[in-house]
Symmetry: C2
């Protein structure tokens, strides 16, 4: 490619003659790795014109660089970065100067160093990825997603693609969610009670900002989704973790002063527990007693391939007390970043205003593509396909875990994509995971899901949403072997 003339600047404060400055500018471009071998430089005429210097000045500078073998000339076709030019260091070029800023003081609020563990970006390179929440290329309906995306890129959809919705969303996506997605969870909602978010993460974050302050009190399931704990600790509200049992969150353990209760009733994260109907009623009663709100993360309800899912807690909500969080990222792909909030207008109004201030709205093209994928029935077809595949993998997982004597702590009656596992007390699963990773096996240590200082260290999660059936039993065997060695 030709290096665009616009990337050449004479610094107002630069030293030396114009010719030297030009030489230096190009040499630095090459040394810093910005200009690469074989790339074409602007013609002397163009560069001279752009910099407002005489053409001869540029010609002399180029000639100098030829002599130093930074450049080479190809007859009439011009000047190129030479392969003999000094190679840029393969480490990142050093900053031009050291900061004079005291960042320790300058930063008003810190957000780094949360509990959310980082997962290997190259998880797909591992042979036994028992990893959670990544898209399996073999299950995703790539072809039809592509068709829908293309259609959403068409001239007829130009407005949906390009317009600034300000604080609004794509009406077609909202309508589909209201008429088809929510009714399947027993929820009826008006468009004004629905807000599209950048995934469930964004929905939970917006909800926390609107409902919680430093003076307010939240109840979290323990264990729970670790990113949610980070969101709440950043909000500086008082957090009470409540240990879940085999039926999920126990209502009578919720303190009287609670303002907001975060729960995953249909499918507890990470234990996979499903809250029975009578406990759901008790939970709603408890919330009414303490005048608390409930934030329901209805996560993975689509993955109910063993039994139809129970209706959402929100469907039993007579008070408008439940705020519902849904997501398409799990069942489509996480990079999609598309979820939604359902709640009473006064709440949605504030969440919408905050979203507008933070990011305006999720990109229109993505909303429209999802609207097509959903309304053309591809989404349901994909869910069925995924369900069938997950069902098959689950059967193989259970057999393998029985064969190798692994202990399942939570399995989920309706389906799901993972098992919550318990190793012997003496096993530290952080350590276990590192050892397994070095052998090509990815598991998720359970520690990060728990609250407090005395967290259990012997739990872990085994997901089967990304591992091929054929590798499951060999992978499970390796986990069992490693546990036996560590115990």
């Amino acid at each position: 490619m030709t290096l665009p003339v616009e990337t050449f600047f004479l610094r107002p404060d630069a030293q030396g003659t114009l010719q030297q400055q030009i030489q230096q500018m190009i040499a630095q471009g090459i040394l810093s790795g910005r200009f690469r071998q074989g790339e074409k430089l602007p013609s002397t005429r163009k560069l001279a014109q752009h910099l407002g210097v005489s053409r001869i000045t540029v010609t002399i500078a180029y000639t100098e660089l030829l002599a130093n073998e930074y450049l080479f000339a190809k007859g009439r076709s011009g000047y190129f970065v030479s392969e003999n030019a000094p190679a840029p260091p393969d480490f990142e070029p050093a900053a031009e100067n050291d900061d004079a800023v005291d960042w320790g003081r300058a930063i008003g609020q810190r957000f780094s160093g949360g509990a959310t563990p980082s997962k290997p970006q190259d998880w797909a390179q591992y042979r036994f990825p028992f990893i959670y929440g990544q898209a399996d290329p073999t299950l995703f309906d790539h072809a039809n997603w592509r068709l829908c995306a293309l259609q959403a890129l068409g001239q007829r959809d130009f407005t949906a693609l390009t317009t600034d919705y300000y604080d609004q969303d794509d009406p077609r996506l909202i309508e589909f969610i209201a008429r088809h997605t929510l009714p399947r969870r027993g929820i009826s909602a008006r468009p004004s009670q629905i807000l599209i978010t950048l995934g469930a993460q964004n929905a939970l974050w917006l909800t926390t900002q609107v409902l919680l302050t430093q003076r307010r009190r939240a109840v979290l399931e323990d264990p729970c989704y670790h990113a949610l704990r980070d969101i709440l600790s950043q909000s500086r509200c008082h957090v009470t973790p409540v240990r879940v049992d085999q039926d999920g969150l126990p209502p009578d353990a919720i303190p009287p002063e609670t303002d907001v209760i975060f729960t995953t009733p249909s499918h507890q994260c990470p234990t996979n527990a499903t809250m029975p109907m009578d406990r759901r009623r008790a939970l709603l009663d408890r919330a009414r007693e303490t005048d608390a709100l409930i934030v329901e993360d209805d996560y993975e309800f689509e993955m109910s391939f063993l039994k139809p899912p129970s209706p959402a807690l929100k469907s039993m909500d007579a008070d408008g007390r439940v705020i519902y969080v849904g997501s398409f990222s799990k069942s489509l792909f996480p990079g999609l970043r598309l979820g939604y909030l359902v709640g009473s207008e006064p709440f949605i109004r504030e969440a919408r205003a905050l979203r507008a201030s933070v990011l305006r709205h999720p990109p229109g093209h993505i909303q429209r593509t999802a609207a097509y994928f959903l309304s053309l029935g591809y989404y349901d077809a994909q869910i069925r396909r995924m369900g069938a595949a997950l069902h098959e993998r689950r059967v193989v997982m259970e057999q393998a875990m029985t064969d190798h004597g692994l202990q399942v702590s939570g399995r989920g009656y309706y389906g799901g994509s993972s098992f919550w596992m318990r190793a012997p007390e003496t096993v530290d699963t952080d350590h276990l995971a590192r050892k397994l990773q070095s052998k090509g096996v990815l598991i998720e240590p359970g520690r990060a899901f728990f609250a407090g200082d005395l967290r259990p260290t012997n739990y872990y999660r085994l997901a089967y949403s990304s591992i091929p059936t054929s590798r499951i039993s060999e992978g499970v065997a390796m986990v069992a072997k490693e546990i036996a060695a560590s115990a």
Copy 2:
């Protein structure tokens, strides 16, 4: 029973091909429980006749639904709703209830009611849209954007499309910005100093959260981008508005206790003033004196079609004191929601962690599409095309404004897409805008750009980024006429 053909109809406002509309109509009928398992669909001939479409269209739609298991075919006797079709919910959606929640108490923080004015969503329906910051379908390179999006949807890019980047970005987009976009502004930055954001709005919001608290002090240009004022007031920091002059922000008016200075040096928003080189040096010196940081919103630098733009303030920053905000939304389309932050690592680290907590990362597909559009040179070509068109419109605007005696307050030496206008003192431009809107003319009242209680009411913005050249002078005449009537 056979579903009566009369219950099928194509919505007049429906989008997509006829085949997709039919597919969608049937899929939704099944999902909403209107069509039950085993029910017979009308024959392709009957339905085609009824809808007035070709029979093959209906046949293809039915075939697609067969593939997705919504329908099954019984030899000669036709198509039926399949028992494998997704079942509608068997539980009744909850009835609407009045909220028992006291939302006045339940909401911890309010975000609604900001200063940002809402613009008509249907602006494109107006004959004279002197509206700012919307995409002009005649200028946007839709075809090549579509090609790049298609490429980014390909199998080779599956990971870029679907992966959960956690807190990271698409390395290809980052690399392009580092090597090609920033150098054009005289800035050299490492990948670790760049963060992709959901538009400049999101960049400014993240920056505010990281740098400002209730105890810290910010300086804002007055007038300025109104959404920025909302962001700062939500952060509850102390804000000092500093009135700009014809050269932009005057450094000596910045109070000594300032922590963060927000400025638009290359192209002041909304007055279009460009800060001269000596004032930029003075501003950097002033920031050093007061140990303040500078947030540079380098807005519309691509729209410099009269003269090449001056290098960014960040290019003169020896201290790491300047945080740079760039955006692709203005020059591509606002619905894209794609911008970036450039700053020292300690700052970017915190902004990245906050972004991860708020929304994880901007959708991968959009980052990759932009990376292609930029690296294939389509972006530069589009900027040139836009520049030429804006140049032409600007000439016509200036002629018309002279002819009709409109007073320009700020015009921008380098180009841009709008004029900052001053009406006679006696004219209230809020009122003026409403009257003009009823006549098909959209202008932006200036009031919302100013701070404080005694805001000037006689300023307004006339943008030419969305109005066809042919309508400019008639539109300007109407503005002049209305002003004369109001004065």
